[in-house]
């Protein structure tokens, strides 16, 4: 039997259609139907200046909107062969980690909604509001912040802002551990999560899973290790687990939140004085930049010609994660309600994932279009 889920579904935030082939309730195969949110952002960006494009980059995805602007700014900085001043880099770390905290809480709350655990769902959302407050206090906006520019950040942080952020972090920390324990030790929650939707390390490598989803399956891969700000100034070690089931993915996100809080504290303590923005002459050329978004690796490849963007290709983490979810996690899941939970545990973000797909009719293979294919 083929069972369609979506595009409008009670526990999906965004439109996507899953076609699930089942025998009884056991899942045999899953097919994904993309294309509901394709807006053509890469095409609009062509021939525009970075001042216009950075707003488009921000609106690729509303949940991890911050990371897109940072990666966009950094790829243009790499082409122009400059680096943002150190104070701006630290402020970027603070905002980035705050964004990661709110995104992880949102992802976990969606999962708890999918397994019908309303209490933890409400707890997660109420903690998330603290992170949103801190973001709003620092940048002035809740979702689309408009905070990054090429060569630095737009506004400086005063001590009052930083103190307010530290206060909010304490509020998060006060309850976080208790909620994580409710999830970790709950016997009934364990029945719904442990050993459901398992993905082994080999499968994660084959499915190219990234971010917390890959790390929960044993891939010790976190791009923050390689980023120059983290590598030179902050202490950081990736968190990973071996199990690879729904429980591991949720716990991995739970454990990454105290680490993000620690990183923000380190950044605020060591915040250097100086400029927050330097003037940049945009160079011509090609560059690639990768960053760790809340969901995993986000990659920008851009080619500029003077001040104008000639070509840009964006790869977001969700496309790999949804793919590996459909191929490996959903395979042999016992019930349809677990399908929804497993899908939610992979933290899908459809607005990120919509890309042009090139279909080679002769051999029936499809692949995501790259900068080198469309010219």
């Amino acid at each position: 039997m083929i069972l369609p889920l979506g595009p409008i579904h009670p526990s999906f935030k965004e439109p996507l259609r899953l076609k699930i082939k089942t025998r009884g309730e056991r899942v045999l195969d899953t097919e994904i139907d993309y294309g509901y949110v394709h807006r053509g952002i890469e095409k609009i960006m062509e021939g525009k200046t970075w001042q216009k494009s950075i707003y488009l980059a921000e609106r690729i995805c509303g949940i991890c909107s911050y990371e897109h602007t940072q990666t966009f700014a950094e790829v243009i900085e790499k082409i122009s062969d400059v680096r943002a001043p150190l104070r701006a880099q630290f402020l970027r770390v603070i905002t980035n980690e705050l964004d990661r905290i709110q995104s992880h809480y949102l992802a976990n709350s969606t999962f708890f909604k999918a397994i019908e655990h309303e209490t933890l769902f409400m707890y997660m959302l109420s903690l998330r509001e603290h992170a949103m407050d801190a973001i709003e206090f620092l940048t002035g906006n809740r979702v689309n912040m408009g905070w990054n520019v090429v060569g630095g950040v737009r506004m400086d942080a005063k001590p009052a802002h930083l103190n307010k952020i530290l206060e909010k972090l304490e509020l998060i920390e006060k309850d976080h551990q208790r909620y994580a324990e409710i999830f970790e030790n709950g016997p009934l929650v364990g029945l719904r999560t442990k050993d459901v939707g398992r993905m082994t390390k080999e499968e994660a490598i084959k499915g190219r899973a990234v971010g917390p989803i890959g790390r929960a399956s044993g891939l010790k891969h976190d791009l923050r290790e390689l980023h120059h700000t983290y590598k030179d100034n902050l202490e950081f070690k990736p968190i990973w687990r071996k199990e690879g089931d729904n429980f591991a993915r949720i716990m991995n996100r739970f454990n990454e939140i105290p680490q993000s809080i620690d990183l923000i504290r380190q950044a605020i303590e060591n915040l250097p004085k100086g400029d927050i923005r330097i003037p940049v002459t945009i160079g011509s050329g090609f560059a690639e930049w990768r960053n760790e978004a809340p969901r995993g690796e986000v990659r920008y490849m851009a080619e500029t010609n003077g001040n104008l963007i000639k070509n840009i290709s964006i790869r977001t983490p969700s496309i790999m994660n949804i793919d590996s979810c459909a191929k490996y996690m959903l395979k042999d899941v016992a019930t349809v309600s677990d399908v929804v939970a497993t899908y939610a545990s992979s933290d899908p973000c459809i607005a990120c994932a919509e890309r042009v797909v090139i279909l080679d009719v002769d051999n029936g293979k499809s692949k995501i279009a790259d900068i080198f294919d469309i010219k």
Binding site: P7, I8, H9, P10, F12, K13, E14, P15, G35, Y36, V37, H38, R39, G40, I41, K43, I44, E46, Y55, L56, R59, I60, C61, G62, I63, S65, L106, S109, T110, M122, L125, S126, R128, E129, M132, R142, V143, N144, C349, I350, A351
Partner: protein, 149 residues
């Protein structure tokens, strides 16, 4: 007397369906934030369940991509009368930043289905969304079934 009593009860039971027809999901996360204990949508009797066949209020976000041109009308016809459509964010109003050369969108939503309320903002704050639902929702729900009487 009976109608007045029905009005009171019906006004505090509004079912909401959220349709994302091609936005960046910034507005959608603000609607999720509405469910949180701070804003507590359910104290006003509003229930978000995403089932168009039971909905009274349809929240539309996003700029109507090509996939949604037909599907949006189809979903609208499946919602029982009386129904009101609330557009959230700049995308359903004008297409926002995507309404440029190369963008594959068909905004505004008002070209496809009748719209009762529009909230500009990218994204609007949660309390603005709540205010708009409460401004148009209760009266529409209270008048349900009156045409027959």
């Amino acid at each position: 007397m009976l109608n007045a009593l029905k009005d009171i009860v019906r006004k505090s039971s509004i079912h909401v369906c959220l349709i994302n027809c091609g936005g960046c999901n910034g507005c959608d996360v603000e609607i999720v934030a509405l469910l949180s204990p701070r804003y507590d949508l359910e104290q006003y009797g509003i229930y978000v369940h995403n089932n168009p066949r039971e909905a009274d209020v349809i929240l539309v976000t996003g700029a109507v991509t090509d996939h949604w041109k037909e599907n949006l009308k189809r979903i609208y016809t499946k919602v029982p009368e009386p129904k009101v459509v609330v557009c959230i964010g700049n995308c359903p109003l004008s297409g926002d930043v995507f309404n440029q050369e190369g963008g594959k969108i068909n905004a505004p939503v008002a070209d496809f289905i009748p719209v009762a309320a529009e909230i500009p903002g990218c994204p609007p704050r949660p309390n603005e969304i709540l205010e708009a639902i409460l401004a148009v929702g209760p009266d529409a729900v209270a008048s349900r079934g009156r045409e027959k009487e």
